[in-house]
């Protein structure tokens, strides 16, 4: 027994668990952020305010605390299992979708491989050499949840939803896969860590070789296909709120909560995937990891300066906001400003500390590697966030497609374009290699 324990690769186990926790934490945090983003962006686009009353001790965080209230409420709500449902599928379905939403992040590299002296830790939870296919396979499984949930509910409107979901997601799987064939051809690897590193090369010496630059058509196709996989407008037929209510009609309390949260977690996962494949992932344009590590002090100082400027700008906007507000809550919410200004002040102080540290403290190997890691993770999160924002933006701008029009789009329009993309990519590679 002790032999087995001694022979285990402890570093690998510990780092994997740490990475998994971090990635899951990120996904869950971004899930709530996506919900808030959805509400706040829709409010902004619709000329209204959005949630701003749920607070803990006066802190509202622009509606973020409402997610906590939602969660608490759903957790303590009565959990009805109707007598006419098929119990196994009905109960399994929300868990399947939540698991799959979180599993998709297992192969996404959040930063470049961390090399400290002779230890090299890849920044993916699971360093598969077919990481690419793993993502496609996992996202295909999410259709099971919708179909089983709808069918298992043994009720008519969820059945409609399940039928639509299965047809939709299967059609767009194909478009999704095809749009990525070109990408694989250009970068010649399935391994996501490698793929992201290769996106750091420069085309013609100037343009970073991101996926979107070498495969613009593939990018568009993949984005549309992932919207369909996410069941977001304009493809939210299975969940067509005003038509058939959705596959979650018979679900209550936390089971519904899982569906609700899984949708938003999936948005984050889609954002991560798109940014990894097409937007260079953790790559900071024109600054590969070695440059970052070599000039880590300067980089840290520059990043801190940006952070300070950002915090000061945010403080200014906050000041303008409070100046223009004409109402008072007469409770703790009036003092939210103290908390927010305090947080921004701490950011400024931390930034100044980092700048001073950059001058005083000598940066050794570990510090340089850590600086590079933090920056790359931040850029990765930022890119994923941009994609989430665009997905939410699209939701509030476009109407919903009808069932047969959606299928026509997937099979008759996107499939041929995908094939054409593969052909064009092949020809271009022949000519330019």
């Amino acid at each position: 027994m002790t032999n087995i324990l001694r022979n285990l690769d402890w570093i690998f186990i510990i780092t994997t668990i740490a990475k998994a926790c971090f990635v899951w934490g990120l996904a869950l945090f971004f899930m709530t952020l996506n919900i808030t983003l959805d509400r706040k962006i829709s409010s902004f686009m619709q000329d209204r305010v959005g949630p701003n009353r749920a607070h803990i001790l006066g802190i509202r965080l622009f509606g973020f605390i409402l997610n906590l209230a939602d969660g608490v409420k759903l957790f303590f709500k009565e959990d009805i299992t109707p007598s006419f449902v098929n119990k196994f599928y009905y109960l399994a379905s929300p868990f399947i979708i939540m698991t799959i939403a979180l599993m998709g992040l297992a192969v996404i590299p959040i930063a470049d491989t961390l090399t400290i002296s002779n230890i090299s830790i890849p920044m993916q939870v699971l360093d598969l050499n077919v990481g690419f296919l793993f993502i496609l396979a996992i996202t295909s499984l999410s259709v099971y949840s919708l179909v089983l949930g709808g069918f298992g509910s043994n009720s008519k409107f969820p059945l409609f939803s399940a039928m639509r979901a299965s047809a939709q997601m299967i059609s767009y799987e194909i478009a999704m896969g095809l749009s990525l064939v070109g990408l694989v051809m250009v970068f010649s690897t399935f391994q996501l860590g490698e793929l992201t590193s290769r996106q750091g090369h420069l085309l013609f010496g100037i343009i970073p070789k991101w996926g979107i630059v070498v495969q613009p058509l593939g990018f568009v196709l993949f984005c549309i296909a992932s919207l369909a996989e996410l069941n977001r407008v304009p493809f939210d037929l299975p969940e067509g709120e005003s038509e058939i209510i959705g596959f979650h009609t018979e679900y209550s309390a936390m089971k519904y909560g899982l569906f609700f949260m899984a949708e938003y977690a999936n948005i984050f996962v889609a954002g991560c995937i798109i940014s990894t494949l097409f937007l260079g992932g953790w790559q900071i344009p024109w600054l590969p990891t070695d440059t970052l590590k070599a000039n880590s002090a300067v980089v840290l100082q520059a990043a801190s300066a940006l952070a300070i400027i950002g915090a000061l700008f945010a403080a200014f906007r906050l000041h303008v906001f409070y100046k223009k507000r004409r109402y008072k809550w007469s409770d703790m919410r009036d003092y939210e400003g103290i908390f927010l200004y305090g947080a921004l002040g701490l950011t400024v102080l931390a930034g100044l500390g980092a700048i001073i540290a950059g001058y005083i403290v000598p940066f050794n190997d570990i510090a340089a590697a850590l600086v590079a890691l933090v920056l790359q993770v931040s850029i990765f999160i930022f890119k994923a966030f941009i994609i989430c924002f665009i997905i939410v933006w699209i939701r509030w701008s476009l109407p919903r497609l009808r069932y047969d029009q959606l299928m026509r789009l997937g099979w008759k329009i996107m499939l041929p374009i995908g094939i054409a993309n593969v052909l064009i990519t092949g020809v271009a590679l022949l000519l330019f290699r």
Binding site: K77, E78, G246
Partner: protein, 159 residues
């Protein structure tokens, strides 16, 4: 009802009450059973000038299983009454009912053969909102009063 009642009458339950009531009060998901003119006024409440989503009531659920509060906005006729009752029964606990408008409270000025004289004949009502139709601010007042009512409840009430 669930594990939150495990401690019975004790200070732990009171703390659980605080948390649970906070959650329930701050995210009341409405099911809008809107039939007549009061439904139009409810649409105004959800519109950008007044905006009920500030109270966390943004998620208007179209299935009663996921909704917390049933907002009955409009006249309920005898023909509609079984439908209302069924929707109420399908909702999950805890649930509250807001009767918006004179017709839902008492039949309004339709004192005749086909109008239910107040939905409290069919479902238990928590908040009555008078008006024909009530202003959007009156509906907000109802939501705020409901939030206060929720915060005074206890998890032991709905065993």
């Amino acid at each position: 009802m669930g594990i939150e009642t495990a401690f019975g009458q004790s200070w732990i339950t009171a703390r659980i009450d605080d948390v649970v009531n906070w959650g329930r009060a701050n995210s009341p998901w409405p099911y809008v059973f809107g039939t007549a003119c009061c439904a139009i006024e409810f649409m105004s409440t959800a519109a950008s000038h007044f905006d009920i989503s500030r109270f966390g009531a943004e998620n208007i659920r179209w299935t009663p299983r996921q909704a917390d509060m049933l907002i009955v906005a409009g006249t309920i006729s005898y023909k509609q009454a079984p439908v209302l009752k069924r929707i109420y029964e399908q909702m999950c606990e805890p649930k509250w009912v807001i009767a918006v408008g004179a017709c839902a409270c008492s039949g309004g000025f339709y004192n005749n053969y086909c109008t239910v004289q107040g939905i409290s004949e069919i479902v238990p009502v928590d908040i009555f909102v008078p008006g024909c139709p009530p202003r959007a601010e009156a509906i907000f007042d109802a939501v705020i009063k409901l939030q206060k009512k929720i915060s005074k409840e206890s998890v032991l009430d709905r065993k």
